[in-house]
Structure formats: structure tokens, C-alpha cells
Symmetry: C2
């Protein structure tokens, strides 16, 4: 199987990089193919322009290659830190530019003339690994953990990927190599 791994963290050697490395090693060890995109390392351009926006818009080759990897993926793994309840801008740009109409979803005409999105991705499952410096209980009570809705409901469910698991690692800033982050959220596992 092809497993697409998308990593969005600016510092080589980060805990996010370690997660992505562990994902790729596990995928390979199990006889599958890991396709890793370290967005910061490859200097991914996150800016969706007005020309590129329409389904028949002008899509540059690097984005077409990302779209092809997404379409060919049997599984998708996303790794990023929790910055303001959202992914870093570089990964938001990957969402804006790569999760395109005609690639990841299309609109069908509904009964009332409203467009109904239909998922097009063939991936069977998506995993999201996040890191956070906010304790899990505060993330829930103060912020409502928006990352779960963003990835599960707004993106993967819409694109037809209904098997979804998410794991938040934290608190990173106070963790040590001897005492890895353990206050995992469980919300993403339901």
C-alpha cells in the first residue's frame, strides 16, 4: 500500500520529525511504501492564488505532483504541532492547494440546487498526529480542541475518508527524553 505522510514543522530534529520518521519506518517495515513530504524542507509554497482557485484553474506542476500523491494514497498520515488550534500556515497551504475540487472532492447537484460535496479520495484511513504545549484538559475546556473537527469533519469526512484516528502528544515543552509526553488526549480515538 501507498502511505502518504505529510509533515508540517519548521525545525529539523523536532518531535514532529521523530513522529514522521517512526511512521515511515513502521510503514516500510510492514512491507508498504511511505511517501514523505516534509513541507518545510521542500519549501512548499502555501499561497493559493485566484488563478489556481477554480477546478479548471492553472495548477503548477509541484501542486499536480502533490495531488497525484494524494489520489494514489491508500492511507494518509498528517503530523503537525497545534498552533492556535490549527496547523502551521505551510500545512494550511497544502490543504488549500492540494485538497482540490476534482482531486479530493466534487460537487453534485442537490435536490434544491445546492452543491453537495462528494468525496473522491480512495484512501481507506487517515491518521493525524499532533503535538501540543497545552494540557489536554485545558485544550478541551478552554479551546474545544478545534483540530479534531478540522481534520475529521471539515476535511477527511468531506473527502470520503471515514476511518479517522487522531493522537495529540503533550505537553512537549516540559517533556524530557526520559519522560516522554504522556498526557494524551483520547478525543481523537472515538
Amino acid at each position: 500500500m501507498n502511505i502518504l505522510v505529510i509533515l508540517g514543522h519548521p525545525r529539523p530534529g523536532s518531535f514532529n520529525h521523530a513522529i514522521a520518521d517512526a511512521v515511515c519506518a513502521t510503514v516500510t517495515r510492514n512491507g508498504h511504501r511511505a511517501i514523505l513530504h516534509d513541507l518545510c524542507a521542500e519549501r512548499f509554497d502555501p499561497l493559493l492564488t485566484a488563478d489556481e482557485f477554480p477546478e479548471q484553474g492553472a495548477v503548477p506542476d509541484p501542486i499536480r505532483r502533490h495531488c497525484a500523491d494524494l489520489q494514489a494514497a491508500d492511507g494518509i498520515v498528517i503530523v503537525h504541532p497545534n498552533w492556535w488550534g490549527q496547523p502551521p500556515a505551510i500545512l494550511k497551504g497544502w490543504i488549500d492547494r492540494v485538497i482540490r475540487p476534482g482531486v479530493a472532492y466534487r460537487f453534485d447537484e442537490g435536490d434544491n440546487g445546492k452543491g453537495i460535496p462528494v468525496g473522491l479520495l480512495m484512501a481507506k484511513a487517515a491518521l493525524v498526529f499532533n503535538t501540543s504545549n497545552t494540557p489536554a484538559d485545558r485544550e478541551q475546556t478552554a479551546f474545544g480542541d478545534p483540530l479534531d473537527a478540522l481534520w475529521r469533519r471539515c476535511i477527511f469526512d468531506l473527502c470520503g475518508v471515514r476511518t479517522f484516528r487522531r493522537q495529540m502528544f503533550g505537553v512537549i515543552v516540559t517533556s524530557t527524553p526520559e519522560l516522554p509526553p504522556i498526557s494524551w488526549t483520547t478525543s481523537g480515538l472515538n
Copy 2:
């Protein structure tokens, strides 16, 4: 008063631009000063680097100027389309780079040694205007309207701006000049 207006939409002439123009005209007409940043027009660089990340990190001059405008604002207005329940990447990058520790918030030592964020912004209120192609009822039931939590709870409440109003305009794609978008959400007004 100084009213900071942040616009994140790639197409000049968009409905988002019209909203921002109306905001600036109204602010000026009422005797106040509008400071508009059209992020796409000014080619704002959305990528927060590892060097810039720490509170004492290397912050480039354009970002320092954005930070100064944010600190000097008596009111803040944000205008952007709803892309995947989030702002476009260019505006996410403004959040990542400009809403910095020491500028918009700081961490106090909590009783249990955990850092407690304390808001530093002097702005009295924040308004967020969004546009959407998703009907308001579907936004709530299918996606949970994550933009409200992102701006209200994750950002402005944390930074000390407790008066918050939000308005979603839609459905834009089926609207006409004669029939402006009217299916406004009310969630942001509560």
C-alpha cells in the same frame, strides 16, 4: 481610535475586499483611523521559521511593524473566506508570526508550574467577518463551525480581547448583486 483591519483573500474585487472597504470607510467616517493590511496585496510571507519562534527570536522588520500595529490597535477587524473551517494560509501565517509571545500574550507561572497564558492586547473588541459557500445550517451540523472557536476562544480570548462579534456572509457562490447573501449565521453574535 486605531482600528486594525486584516484582510486575507487573494482576488482583488472579491466580496471580502468589499467588506474590508466598507469597514475602513465606516471607521474613517466616524472619525477614527483605519489601518488596513491586505495581506495578499502586500505579499505577506506566512512562514514562521524555527529561528523566529522563541520570544527572543530573530523577528524581521516587516513582522515587527505588524506587531506594532497589533499592539497599538484599539479595535481589530479580521476579514477572510471560510476555507476548510479555517482562514487561508496567508492569514494563518499572520496569526503564527504576528500574534507573538511578548506582543499579544505572555506566560505566567501557574500554581502547578504550568504556564498560564495572560493576554497583552489593549484592543477593546474584535470583529471577524467571514464569507462562505456552505449554507449556515450545514456549517453547523456537518462541520461545527470551527472558525468561531478558533477566533473567539483560541486567539482573542487568550490575548485578552473579550468583546468579540462574528458574522458569516453566505452563500456567496449563488449570490447576485441584486440578491446579496442573506443566510447569516447568528452563532457569532452570542
